[in-house]
Structures are given as structure tokens and as C-alpha cells.
């Protein structure tokens, strides 16, 4: 009986320690800022450079939730994030217009590119525009892997199919519903064509066999915007913190970090305010 009581006491102590550990972790001394962003900015490790400097300076902990642009906007709409860094200008402006977001700034840009297998079965390398390139994928019935997750990249892709007058349906078109990196890995394994932002491509280039088959078209411009979630829409939005972060990312310091962030000597994003 004594042995039993001792066991229970020990288990009790362990439990208290466990709960205590989590409590410290949660409450902490720091203010919290939830940044919902796209998988591309997260995969590129740019935020790993920006955030520690901001956290150090302001004493605010930034929690990054990396999802597609569609989901990020949804998190803003429901008040579950304080700040959004996304790349789908049309949806962003809609979001602002509906009163969910405020203080939108353009932060940086890069471009989308089309990757394909080494043999380039649909001969995209001869294309003169991205619209033509997309038509050629469909004509050649070559496999195309789509994000399929309402992310900024997915929206851009659907926009391009629309202009090309191609219905993205059939055996040649497969939607995986995952982040940019995962989608790229699928396309790489299946030797398929894929639309991707340049930063993710550069971050993964060393590990994949796909290569650039089309680039350089004004329709492939990829703009990243930042905005705060409207504090009048929900309670407990950290609007002050969001404002500080927005100021930081468009400041000279923030923009220089973006400019100097490189992988294998290549810049991933181009700042817009330098």
C-alpha cells in the first residue's frame, strides 16, 4: 500500500512539472504576434533572417503559420492571425475592400517560372510567351502538377490557364493540394511540368532534376504584400505589433535584409522600397 502511494505521488509530481513546463512556454514574458504567410516565404528561409532581428529589437515574439495565400487570408478573416504576408494582389485588394485588412504595403517581388523534365517533351523552351507555353503543355498532354490549394501560386496558375483558354482537367493535370515544396517534390518524382515561384525553386534547386523551361514574361510577375488584420473586426488583434512589423519590413533595414538574402549567390526576392 505504501509503495502504491509513493508511485502515485511520483506520478503526481511528474504531471505538475509537465503542466508547469507548458504554462511557462505559453505565457512567457513576450507579446505574441501571429504572422500568416505563404509556404514560399517560409521555405526560402527569408523569415528566419528577418524575424530574429525584429524580435530582438521589439521584444515581440513572432509566430509564423505557413500556409497558402488562400488559407492565410482565411486566418485573417476569422481573426486568427494578426498580420499577413501573401502574394495574390487581387484577393488582397478584395480583402482590404471588405474591411478585413488595413495598412497594405508592397514589400518585394520576384517571378514565377515554369519547370519541366530534362527532355522537355512539350518543347516549352521554344515558347515565346507563358500563355503559349501553357497551351503547349496541354497540346502535348504532358503531365502538369498543380498546387490545387487556392494559394497565390495556384491562383496565378488558374489565371494563366484561363488566358490560354485551356480547361485544366484530364489525365495530364494533377492537383496535389500541398505546399510549394511538397508539390515540387511530387513534380520532380513524376517528371512533370510545374509553375513555381523562383525563391522556392532556388531553395530546392540542388535536390531536383527538373529545370527551367520557361521564364521571363510580364504575366509571371510575383508581388508580395503585407497587411494588418483590421483590429475593429475582432477582439484581441495585436494591431500595434503588426504595425511595428510592417514598419520594420518596409524600412531600409528590412529591405536590405531582403535584398541580401541569397541562396547559392542568387537573390530570392527583390525589395520594392530601396
Amino acid at each position: 500500500m505504501l509503495k502504491t502511494s509513493i508511485m502515485y505521488i511520483i506520478i503526481g509530481i511528474i504531471i505538475l512539472l509537465l503542466i508547469g513546463g507548458i504554462k511557462d512556454r505559453y505565457i512567457g514574458s513576450n507579446e505574441r504576434l501571429i504572422l500568416a504567410t505563404t509556404t514560399s516565404t517560409d521555405n526560402s528561409a527569408l523569415l528566419d533572417k528577418l524575424i530574429p532581428i525584429f524580435e530582438e529589437k521589439e521584444g515581440i515574439r513572432v509566430d509564423v503559420v505557413a500556409v497558402g495565400t488562400g488559407k492565410a487570408l482565411e486566418l485573417g478573416r476569422s481573426g486568427d492571425s494578426d498580420l499577413l504576408l501573401v502574394h495574390d494582389e487581387k484577393s488582397e485588394l478584395e480583402f482590404i475592400e471588405q474591411g478585413y485588412g488595413i495598412d497594405r504595403y508592397k514589400v518585394m517581388y520576384n517571378d514565377f517560372i515554369v519547370l519541366g523534365p530534362k527532355g522537355d517533351p512539350s518543347h516549352l523552351k521554344g515558347a515565346t510567351s507563358v500563355v503559349e507555353a501553357f497551351k503547349m503543355i496541354n497540346k502535348g498532354q504532358s503531365l502538369f502538377i498543380s498546387r490545387g490549394d487556392y494559394s497565390g501560386t495556384h491562383k496565378q496558375e488558374l489565371f494563366l490557364w484561363d488566358i490560354a483558354g485551356v480547361k485544366p482537367e484530364g489525365n495530364w493535370y494533377q492537383e496535389v493540394g500541398q505546399g510549394m515544396g511538397s508539390t515540387l517534390m511530387v513534380a520532380n518524382e513524376k517528371e512533370a511540368y510545374i509553375l513555381i515561384d523562383r525563391s522556392t525553386y532556388l531553395a530546392y534547386r540542388a535536390d531536383i532534376d527538373l529545370e527551367i523551361v520557361f521564364e521571363g514574361d510580364s504575366l509571371l510577375y510575383n508581388l508580395y504584400g503585407i497587411m494588418a488584420v483590421n483590429p475593429n473586426r475582432h477582439d484581441n488583434i495585436n494591431y500595434k505589433g503588426a504595425t511595428k512589423f510592417i514598419k520594420f519590413i518596409v524600412s531600409q533595414k528590412g529591405q536590405e535584409i531582403i535584398r541580401d538574402h541569397k541562396i547559392f549567390g542568387e537573390r530570392l526576392f527583390n525589395p520594392l522600397n530601396l
Partner: protein, 231 residues
């Protein structure tokens, strides 16, 4: 093949060098799953005992319901809990979304039917003979219940171990409710999902090996209770 070998080497390296981030992730995983399994046990074992021991109307339906809940996918639990603790949900004001506490809620719900259902089965199977034997030997009904409790403890421990295995290995709840936030809600399984998405297969495997090691140690501890038997 190469990934696996590199993964094993990486795992050993990460453990030996006490990689701070990986240790933090591992500790969080252990922490969350233990608290969740504890809460689920506190609710599930008494509940399972009641359903298994007492005969009442609708009992069979409840047992069928419990067994159905065993196949509840973590992602569905994730969606449900998400909608409750989102700022727009009824529990929004507590700010539980994207926190370790939120994950605990989801994991507790995940483990609860497992622990309850398995407890029900254990109690149901052993109950008749034990109680009858005890009563025929002249025990009071209270004493008979106590004997039953002693007899089913191995089965209940088995239920807890099974529940724990499900909780520490799940991704859906941690990903949806935790958000895989670095240094905050990133658990071993969401980190594995992230690394796999990044194409870092060997690092993913290394984390997987660490996860299995943790489960092994926790199971060793739990089994030592079973074999010790004296308490």
C-alpha cells in the same frame, strides 16, 4: 535507400550533439502527448469502467458508438477543435488556436475513445467470473468491485499504451491546431511533415527515429509497471 542510412547517421548525430532545436521539439512532443494521455485517462478509464460494469438501457449503442469513434481521423478532430477555438468560434476568447494547449485538447479527444473503448472491453470480459467468484467466496459487493479493479489494471494499462501510441504519432491535430510554429508548437510529427515537404528526407527520418526512441522508452517505463505488478 541512401536516405535511410543518412537518416540513421543524422539521428545519432542530433542526439549526441544535443541539438537545441531538436531537443526542444522532442520535449514538446513528449510533454503534449503525456498531458493529453493523462487527461484522456482521467476521463476515459472511469467512463469505460461505468459502461463496462453496469448494465443499462442503451449500453450496446454506446459501445458501438465508442468503437466507431476509434476510427475518427485526427484531421477531422483538428477541424472540429479548430472551429471551436478559432476567434470566430464559441471558445475564441481564450486564444487557444496555434498554442500547445490547443493541441492538447485535440489529442485528448483523439485518445479518449481509444482508452474508453478498450477499458470497456477489458472490464466487460473479466467482470462476470471475477465478481461471481469473489461473491461466492463471501466478499461484499464493495470488495468484489475492488477485486475487479485489481484484475483489469493490466488491460487498462494496455489501453493507455495504445492511446499514447496514437497520440504521439499523430500529425493532423498538431498541424491544424498548432500550426507547426517554430520554437512554439512544432512537434516531432509536424517537423517530419515539414522536412519531407522540403525534400529533406534524411532529416525527416532522423526525427522519426528519435520519435520511435521516445516511444520505446515510455513503453519500457509503462511495461515495468505491468511486470512489477506489486502496486
Amino acid at each position: 535507400m541512401e536516405y535511410i542510412l543518412t537518416g540513421v547517421r543524422d539521428a545519432i548525430g542530433l542526439i549526441l550533439t544535443l541539438d537545441q532545436e531538436v531537443i526542444g521539439i522532442a520535449l514538446l512532443s513528449i510533454n503534449l502527448s503525456l498531458v493529453a494521455i493523462l487527461l484522456a485517462s482521467l476521463i476515459g478509464i472511469p467512463l469505460g469502467f461505468l459502461v463496462g460494469y453496469y448494465k443499462f438501457k442503451g449500453r450496446r449503442f454506446i459501445i458501438t458508438l465508442l468503437n466507431t469513434l476509434l476510427s475518427l481521423p485526427p484531421v477531422v478532430i483538428g477541424i472540429l477543435v479548430f472551429s471551436f477555438i478559432s476567434k470566430q468560434g464559441p471558445l475564441g476568447e481564450f486564444g487557444l488556436l496555434f498554442t500547445p494547449q490547443g493541441i492538447i485538447i485535440g489529442q485528448t479527444i483523439l485518445a479518449l475513445p481509444i482508452i474508453t473503448a478498450l477499458t470497456v472491453n477489458t472490464v466487460k470480459e473479466s467482470e462476470h467470473q471475477i465478481v461471481i467468484t469473489a461473491l461466492s467466496l463471501g466478499a461484499s459487493s464493495g470488495q468484489a468491485l475492488l477485486t475487479l479493479l485489481k484484475e483489469v489494471k493490466f488491460g487498462i494499462l494496455g489501453a493507455v499504451i495504445t492511446g499514447y501510441g496514437r497520440v504521439i504519432g499523430e500529425v493532423g491535430v498538431s498541424m491544424m491546431i498548432g500550426g507547426n510554429i517554430r520554437n512554439f508548437t512544432r512537434t516531432l510529427t509536424t517537423a517530419i511533415a515539414l522536412e519531407t515537404g522540403k525534400g529533406e528526407f534524411s532529416f525527416g527520418i532522423a526525427l522519426g527515429i528519435i520519435l520511435m526512441l521516445i516511444s520505446f522508452i515510455i513503453n519500457l517505463i509503462l511495461h515495468s509497471f505491468q511486470e512489477g505488478g506489486s502496486w
